[in-house]
Symmetry: C2
Subunit: 568 residues, 2 copies
């Protein structure tokens, strides 16, 4: 602790003067020992002075036996992929008990580079929560991606030493790691004393070992307990993900409970959780509650949401209720239901109804869709080979299947039955690149859906059953400078503009939610399978680091572990 800070706090810690605030009659969850300790918590200048029964404060709050644990930590998330402004997302989740967010702004970075990262830092600077940034490691995600900006090791220097930067963001380009690409190791070298986040869905044994050996510290892509176990045994800290798109918690936590393994190397994250889901279920508190429902010891669950994560990221003064720790506190009713009573950030109560101040977005970040008008003929798909690769969309998953089927030869494939057209349209550099393919499983009829949210390069992704509607949807996205749109029988049904980098809205959640609800309903009415979120699932179809088959502006990309490359 700094000398000046200590000098201010010490008289109150030593009981010579009163603390700012005392929480009395608390059941304190001690994350160091795994006990509940009855006591009072003393706070001054947003710092915990200590736990004691005799402390006095200028303000005393009687918790009447309620439980208090440290504010929760989301170990990994992307603020830009929830559509609303970062400030609104953070404030909403903070009111549910998450007081620390470890964000990877790689969506913003893929569109607008360092300006995108600075936008996230700036927008969250005055949030009622700690927002830390992992510097995006894979911008673009891989060498074969067409994105807006590139971030090399050299571009990272201006961020080094910033206390809000905790390390290197999720390393998705596992090929670059495993094959020893010197450009990737230059980034590793910059962060060797901080944390390096991984992204390793389904690496086989030896590759996973090599990936860890290279320097990766964490992963949040484990979707089964078996794989999570393989990772933890290698010393990879596993962030158990439960968000709007990916639901990995039940399988992993059930495995932990059944096998009885240690949990210090597990944390919780959301990765992507939309505001409507947060409002309905809570944020990281949902992961805690659900884990306890599945039989996990409640202390272990709370530790996975607090101290485990703080230690993983070197946050020495967060994640515990002890002297010198930041006074981020979650007050709740009991260790089973975990109903949130109140949340405190730096010793101040978070008012869930407080007005959220959103800072102005720089104008350049609102003009990022750079694309010539497209027409139906741009989406023609001639079938020339005996066998055709088809994107098999899997229910409730972001992975796809590489289906290989016999489709009759023709000059332009016509969607029908369960077959649709899916396309990715480059939108950063007016390159005219458009990739078109067949998709199965999504289920829309009589129109098209398009989005400029399309991980990780955020080109325009579109799916539909007619070339005209597909072209109309893409042109509509360009018109509004990014967003979601639903087109039905030659007419735009509704568009949700997301003008900030084509990712985020400049209005508030309530307005977004209303429009989005209407658009989702229409999408389901048009036949989209209830196993998908019409927009979120679509937004992952171009992501080249997820198996098995992805659509990109350069065409279909095979993303299997054993075989990678464009389909000719």
């Amino acid at each position: 602790m700094k000398y000046e800070t200590y000098k201010k706090l010490a008289p109150a810690a030593l009981g010579k003067v009163k603390a700012d605030t005392i929480f009395k009659n608390c059941k304190i969850v001690d994350v160091f020992t795994g006990e509940v300790v009855d006591g009072n918590i003393g706070i001054k200048d947003g710092i915990i002075l200590g736990v004691s029964r005799s402390m006095q404060g200028r303000k005393e709050i009687d918790l009447k036996g309620a439980y208090v644990c440290p504010g929760l930590i989301d170990a990994h998330l992307h603020l830009e992929s929830t559509m609303v402004s970062p400030a609104e997302l953070v404030a909403t989740a903070a009111a549910c008990g998450t007081t620390t967010f470890i964000v990877d702004p790689h969506e913003a970075a893929n569109v607008s580079g360092a300006d995108g990262i600075n936008y996230i830092l700036d927008q969250t600077e005055k949030s009622p929560a700690n927002v830390f940034v992992m510097l995006p490691s894979c911008v673009p995600a891989t060498d074969i991606d067409d994105n807006g900006c590139m971030i090399a090791a050299n571009d990272m220097y201006p961020f080094i030493g910033n206390p809000r930067i905790l390390g290197l963001g999720e390393v998705m380009d596992d090929d670059a790691v495993i094959n020893g690409d010197p450009r990737m190791f230059a980034k590793f070298a910059l962060f060797e004393h901080q944390t390096i986040d991984g992204h390793a869905p389904f690496l086989p044994n030896r590759m996973l070992s090599a990936y860890k050996m290279a320097g990766v510290d964490t992963d949040h892509e484990a979707s089964s307990f078996e794989y999570a176990l393989e990772e933890v045994r290698r010393g990879i800290h596993v962030h158990i993900r439960e968000g709007s798109a990916a639901h990995n918690l039940d399988d992993i936590v059930s495995g932990i409970v059944e096998k009885g393994i240690d949990t210090e190397h597990f944390s919780f994250c959301t990765d992507d959780k939309h505001i409507e889901d947060i409002v309905r279920d809570g944020h990281i508190i949902y992961n805690v509650r659900r884990s306890v429902e599945l039989g996990l010891n409640p202390f272990k669950a709370i530790k996975m949401a607090t101290i485990n994560t703080a230690k993983c990221y070197g946050l020495k003064h967060m994640g515990a209720i002890a002297p010198g720790y930041q006074a981020d506190l979650l007050i709740f009713d009991n260790m089973k239901d975990f109903n949130v009573i109140d949340v405190y950030f730096k010793g101040k109560r978070i008012d869930p109804k407080a007005e959220i101040k959103v800072r102005k977005c720089p104008a350049a970040l609102k003009r990022t869709v750079n694309l010539d008008k497209v027409s139906a003929s741009d989406f023609a798909l001639p079938i020339k080979n005996k066998e055709t690769h088809i994107v098999g969309m899997k229910p409730k998953q972001i992975e796809t299947l590489d289906l290989v089927e016999k489709i009759p030869k023709c000059d332009n494939f016509t969607p029908g039955g369960d077959y649709l057209k899916i396309a990715a349209v480059e939108r950063h550099h007016r390159s005219g690149k458009i990739g078109v393919a067949i998709a199965k499983g999504y289920g829309i009829r009589g129109g098209a859906i398009a989005s400029s949210v399309s991980h990780d390069s955020h080109n325009i992704i579109v799916i539909g059953d007619s070339d005209e509607d597909i072209a109309l949807a893409v042109n509509e996205i360009a018109r509004v400078q990014g967003g979601y749109t639903v087109v039905e029988n030659g007419k735009v049904f509704e568009t949700l503009p997301l003008p900030i980098m084509g990712l985020m809205t400049d209005v508030n959640f309530a307005e977004v939610d209303k429009k989005l609800g209407k658009m989702k309903k229409k999408a389901y009415d048009m036949g989209v399978s209830k196993d998908f979120d019409p927009f979120i699932t679509l937004s992952f179809m171009a992501l080249t680091v997820i198996p098995e088959l992805r659509i990109t502006p350069r065409g279909l990309y095979l993303a299997k572990i054993e075989e990678k490359g464009f389909i000719k």
Copy 2:
């Protein structure tokens, strides 16, 4: 991992070429999950490539089902206080399974400053173990100490950035911390991103909170479970100490077992363990074995000796068997007896019979006793007050009691009954300072025992029942430039020279041990209580940071929490 290192290791990790060594048929203790995993361990260039059943190596060692855990870590020790050369102590303990030593060279620093620290770094550079240094924080221990050299924050700069320096060594001057001495906080600031070791025996609640809040991360002075619990609840990582002088393990571990608290914030240390005890009982493996005997889960015990400590000190590549970790391995028979079969450091077997190479000691470090001849009259102790403070030596403890008794007034106190004379003689700067007092409990008759090992200032400490023998013992220590001596009835019975800073021998342990055994036997024959080690216990009597009453060259010092100062 560095790019060049990865490039060398990756082909073997990926199974494209053979590893250097494969340990086959191991029962691997997984410190991340708390399981035993059956498998093979692959190693190249001293680094673990991974655990797999199919790996091949140029050399294959069949362990036939033996257990393998990471090499053990001693979280806190002083190499200089074991008399033998640092290289010999480390090699001896390493052969017992301790492959990482976190040492605080404050004994050497108190005598010879930065030269003393560099001596320890140099002597252990080629040891078959990792020897890391915590930079001594309290040299001298407190403002009232008379030592050889002073180390201020400015003197620490040359050591910053040295990868063998892990942080700031035990902060014994709790007054300086709690009262906010800016000189102490200048040292804290230097190490805010590393680990700051504490030293906090029996601080009352609020003071302990303030001490932690100031920035202290660890403590190894807890001698009871109750106190350890108070520390851990405050986020202080507790090193459970079991050495030659202090025996805290049984009480603390029994409490942990009984209360069932979490153990991630506990580690093991020896602090001071002499070579004869190491050879007889083992080193940190003794702490593990004894803890399991006391009912601690064996995985928890091993974690307290490995990963817990590695994480506490930011040693990212030690304390586990996983890809990228250093191949420091302990092979043992079972999880109950923990008999050591073999120890590997950086993938190479430690040969317990290997010749220990001791580097030459700089000549200046062998001329550190700087003292004029003393005579019996220097130790006269007039009794002038009604009540006299007496150093009450406690069986098996380094703490003392402040006994206040009515001693008849006289010009020079004469030892008798259970009363002895104890004195501390300044020996660094020829200042002539000598403090004399009465001690009780030690039990020598017919002579005196003296030592230049006398924490932490390492003046000469002497105890006996006649002024003549006391003077003779002190002069003998000066003659040999430091060591231990036993004087009986006006004659030197035997002297063990410790010429390196007055702390360490320049011969090997076998010679030291023979002589020491003879000297100890004589001490016990002369009446020294079996509850004490005649020399080690004596060596703590001048330590001003331990309660309650200490003898220093300036006189008796009261070291109670509530009351401190010299006795007039």
